[in-house]
Symmetry: C2
Subunit: 503 residues, 2 copies
Amino acid sequence: MFKNALISCSDKKGLAEFLKKFPNLRIVSTGGTAAYLRKNHIPVVEVSEQTGFPEVMDGRVRTLHPNIHMALLAREENSHDMEVLKKHDLEKFDLVIGNLYPFEEQSKSKMSDRELSEFIDIGGVALLRAAAKNYQQITVICDSDDYDWVGDEAEVSLEKRKYLAGKVFAHISSYDSLIAKKLLGFPLQQKEISFGAKLVQPLRYGENPHQDANWLKLVGEEFGIHNAKVLSGKPLSYNNILDIDAAAILGKEFTEAVCVAVKHNNPCGVGADQDAKIAVKKCLEADPISVFGGIVVCNRPIDMGEADLLCPIFLECIVAPEFSPKAFQKLSQKKNLRLLEWNTFEKEHLYEIRSISGGILMQTCDKADREWGPTWICHGTAPDAEKKQELLFAWKVCTALKSNSIALTSERQTVGLGMGQVNRVDAVDHAIGRWKKNHPDKNDVVMASDAFFPFADSVAAAAKAGIRWIIQPGGSIKDEEVLMAAHHHGVNMILTHKRHFRH
Amino acid sequence: MFKNALISCSDKKGLAEFLKKFPNLRIVSTGGTAAYLRKNHIPVVEVSEQTGFPEVMDGRVRTLHPNIHMALLAREENSHDMEVLKKHDLEKFDLVIGNLYPFEEQSKSKMSDRELSEFIDIGGVALLRAAAKNYQQITVICDSDDYDWVGDEAEVSLEKRKYLAGKVFAHISSYDSLIAKKLLGFPLQQKEISFGAKLVQPLRYGENPHQDANWLKLVGEEFGIHNAKVLSGKPLSYNNILDIDAAAILGKEFTEAVCVAVKHNNPCGVGADQDAKIAVKKCLEADPISVFGGIVVCNRPIDMGEADLLCPIFLECIVAPEFSPKAFQKLSQKKNLRLLEWNTFEKEHLYEIRSISGGILMQTCDKADREWGPTWICHGTAPDAEKKQELLFAWKVCTALKSNSIALTSERQTVGLGMGQVNRVDAVDHAIGRWKKNHPDKNDVVMASDAFFPFADSVAAAAKAGIRWIIQPGGSIKDEEVLMAAHHHGVNMILTHKRHFRH
């Protein structure tokens, strides 16, 4: 069905097989592609033959010629366009196949700006875009996955040509978004921006079964959950991925062994220790009811000790940098349990985006404070080294909970968490309620609050429950009243001057 | 400092003023731009003079010529490239100014696919991309906002040329993302996708003061919070926007008057009524503590009746389709209160995106059920019309809360909400606790749960508190046990078969 094709491909996979379906096709092609086709016994007209102009500047300029672009852009229904073609002895193209230098692959290797620029495709992009603009009469293929079905069509319908043209613009847009990212670096200052993304996998459904969903990786991001290796169990669900992300946000803040359990995007149990097994035990026992059906992320390899603790509990997912063969053997027998190898430490992420009605919000990522801050002020008794470690642990956990949030911890284990609340005193009440229910024996409990206390009521409630240490940002107009209440109740209060809302 | 410029601009704002700073510049330009420059007494060389080729096909092919692209792509340090230029009697360009047809503006008007295609710029994109690739020696401007500072530089540094080149790729990427969207329609099926976005405004900070943030509108989205008119008060904050979005998600589900208060991305009070004033009153009284410092969205104009209710309460934002002059007069006296005119009904959004580590999740938006579902099954007494309306109200509210969520309502007012919980029975306890605290006098209260009850404990707790009606999706393996418990406690239970998680 096709008569006149223009072909310029960096990736030649499947190209010859596809073209052999069209033995009478006139093919115009560039250097590497032409050589490949000839090797496959497919006759080719060199671009320079059609342009009457030699390829110059190492191929930088070859298809950027009127004799190519007139044959791409001429409108069949426009008699003047057709006359121009005739005058130049040209035939319009009806098939264009092109793909670009693998800029993303190239851009991963260390190279100078100048070298990187060499990989920015100009001519290939121009001819693909011209063909896609003229999809009313041109079938344009930029993805070798489309060869099969296009080759089987008696005639590619206008609807399908439009789809193929759309793919070209989506692909080039994504390609250019990466170039922009490489040139501009951190993109928060831009008036206009574009986020290119490639499908990791379509998801069975979204947050709920009636929602369709896709999981995509952002172009140019080497690190991320898409690097996780699913060793066992079903593919990840939308909610699994969201929960793994929530767990990783907290997990990466620790150098000691840490284990984080997440339910509904909120940590529900966190344990840290020098010994990974103890960290896992602390995590699972933190809130034994809520961990049911959750996901667990650990920053240490899972061996038999950890596996024995994890195995009896119904979990959706366990994520760790490694599973020992024995631990894998044991855990993989649970058919519905997903086991993932992924190192949550990989890399800090720089910014996050989320859509709102008609737009997106973009911000630099929040990070917990990994060390005791030099400007943190303690009102009351100064904490000793051990107490500082405990307060820092509670503080880190608190930053990862949905706001308003309160974290109660003891011996690097969460004993009561309050989160997602619309007022602070309720978060305090919930956290204390969980503590008294799950860990009534724990006495030496510290409290962290992700934002200031607007009133002194929370401090009174904490003191009444037996808390003697609170870490919080401060910054309320009622700080003085809050500090007075703390003093009155014998509570030592650390002010960090840094709020950690998370919604 | 510049010697040889290529200029092709659709938007000519500020161009002549900028160029007058460079009286000795040789300028090569296309039709419309050339005419404009001549009118401004700036000498111009026509592109056709440099190419020796006439503009053809209504300007579709004019700059797509080796004599243009060689002068754009030649590498100064490459002697061969320089020889080629010399041979063709060309000088390299060192300044390129270009901008594209306003495709987004055009694409808003109703036109055929064929007409729309006419607005896809090919030549302009190709020359901008070529110049940007060669930023080592070319200063490329695609945004007239850059004229001022570029004009003031003695010489544009490499770093700044790189920045300008990055802007070109970002702009073109965004431009192409819109074309892809127009051609492909709903983008959930794509292997590769790109989201172009334009700055609405930089935000003072993100969720927390130490986070930088931007608010962007997605290209091609006509509707959204960016259409809201800030009548009074400070600019919106990151958290304001997030909260307005959360409120709008719920508000758009109602045809009767509804008022939604949001704190920390969770509705904290919702009231609906035929009378807007009563809806506002119900909303504000739903949880009088939590509404403090919240945002309120109403789907009816705010007149004095509503303003009198709203005025005494400390709120961050009031959003409504309209404020009467008197209501505005009254409310705008509160200096820190933002008043926004926006119709939350505008349009349904089709999909949402959010970033995770290294990637994004994309899904179709969840929508509440606006009407009583034909497949909803009632176990127990069939609800009458009034009860159905109440259950539907509770159900809608519940879908807008963060999971796990429980909504208790009475007479179209939320009386107790439980949300953001890591187990269901806690959400039930929290909701009941709030009800008994804030509305102990309300007896006829119904309960909605966003997902099934994994155990019968929540039903027992609800019954004990006095609830006789529960609406929930069902689908637990323990449904039978849950329904038995409901029957046992005299609770009527409606199963909707549709879960509404929201995280």
